[in-house]
């Protein structure tokens, strides 16, 4: 079961909401502050891709995000349902999982000359550019073709403090105060992400 699940109407306006929620959950899960910008960017890219796919193929279906605190890993899965409506018949069984090792897409843009397609500035980059960006941001990335669409799974390391609850110990005043054993960690109030 995911720690937090969000479903949202596939509108560009909601991608920011998804970014903010993912960043907040990542922070709670103990992802280092230095990595939160990467979480925000990667989740935003994955959600933007899913939103565009839904707008083309299934605008009435929500995009789904699952965020899970696994103790030493924080995992985000962004899933779309675009294949259910938009893929041609005979697309076949779901493709095997493709593991994208963390790495840099490098000059994935290929410069302005790489533009193609008639979709305005969307044609400035080749298809899959957003996924290439994600692979340069997330610690681990897997893109899985499911029966209904595409699932982009990203994860980052999170810190487990010695009390057994996730927390970025000592980072930016976020360490939990000392407490008797058995009591839950008392967290100071947080500002919004």
């Amino acid at each position: 079961m995911a720690t937090v699940e969000v479903s949202f109407t596939p509108l560009p306006a909601h991608v920011r909401t998804a970014r903010l929620v993912a960043t907040a959950v990542a922070r709670r899960s103990g992802v280092d502050e230095a990595l939160l910008d990467e979480v925000r960017l990667a989740v935003g890219e994955a959600c933007s891709r899913a939103v565009e796919a839904h707008r083309r193929h299934c605008p009435a279906e929500p995009v789904k995000i699952e965020m899970t605190d696994l103790g030493e890993r924080f995992v985000v899965v962004v899933s779309d349902s675009a294949a259910a409506a938009g893929r041609p018949a005979g697309a076949g069984a779901p493709a095997p999982a493709e593991d994208h090792a963390a790495g840099r897409p490098g000059a994935a843009a290929g410069g302005p000359g790489a533009a193609s397609g008639a979709g305005g500035d969307q044609g400035a980059f080749p298809p899959g550019f957003g996924l290439a960006v994600i692979s340069g941001l997330a610690d681990e990335v897997r893109v899985v073709s499911t029966g209904s669409g595409l699932s982009v799974q990203m994860s980052w390391p999170s810190v487990l403090d010695r009390t057994g609850s996730a927390g970025a110990a000592g980072a930016g005043g976020e360490s939990a105060p000392a407490r008797p054993s058995g009591e839950p960690a008392a967290r100071p109030p947080r500002s919004s992400p």
Partner: protein
């Protein structure tokens, strides 16, 4: 605040000030502004990103689209950005090799004048 845009002319160069977040929702507004400026024969552009809080590949696409448009008229589009959190996506995508990126608007304008 999502995105705030402004522009002014300095030494014959059109400077675009961008503040806020450039993403799939807000990027179209920046795109429209860049198109409008080019349509009004402004081919030397500087986009000041110092107050940009977020930039994703949609935003990059808009900037690349703007660069293509001005280059079609032998113009140029340079950026002002010192924030590492924003420069990161340029580095990841290799676009630091495509755009002139400067520390201040004055530096960008001076570089453009030197190129002429």
């Amino acid at each position: 605040m999502d995105l705030k845009l402004g522009h002014y002319n300095k030494d014959g160069i059109e400077v675009v000030d961008v503040e806020g977040e450039i993403d799939v929702y807000t990027a179209p507004r920046l795109r429209e502004l860049l198109i409008d400026l080019v349509n009004k024969n402004n081919y030397q552009l500087v986009v000041n990103m110092e107050k940009v809080e977020f930039l994703d590949s949609t935003g990059l696409g808009v900037l690349v689209g703007g660069l293509k448009r001005v280059r079609a008229h032998d113009g140029s589009l340079d950026l002002v950005c010192t924030q590492e959190r924003i420069l990161k996506i340029f580095r990841i995508t290799g676009l630091t090799k495509v755009f002139g990126i400067h520390g201040t608007v004055d530096d960008a304008i001076a570089a453009k004048k030197a190129d002429r």
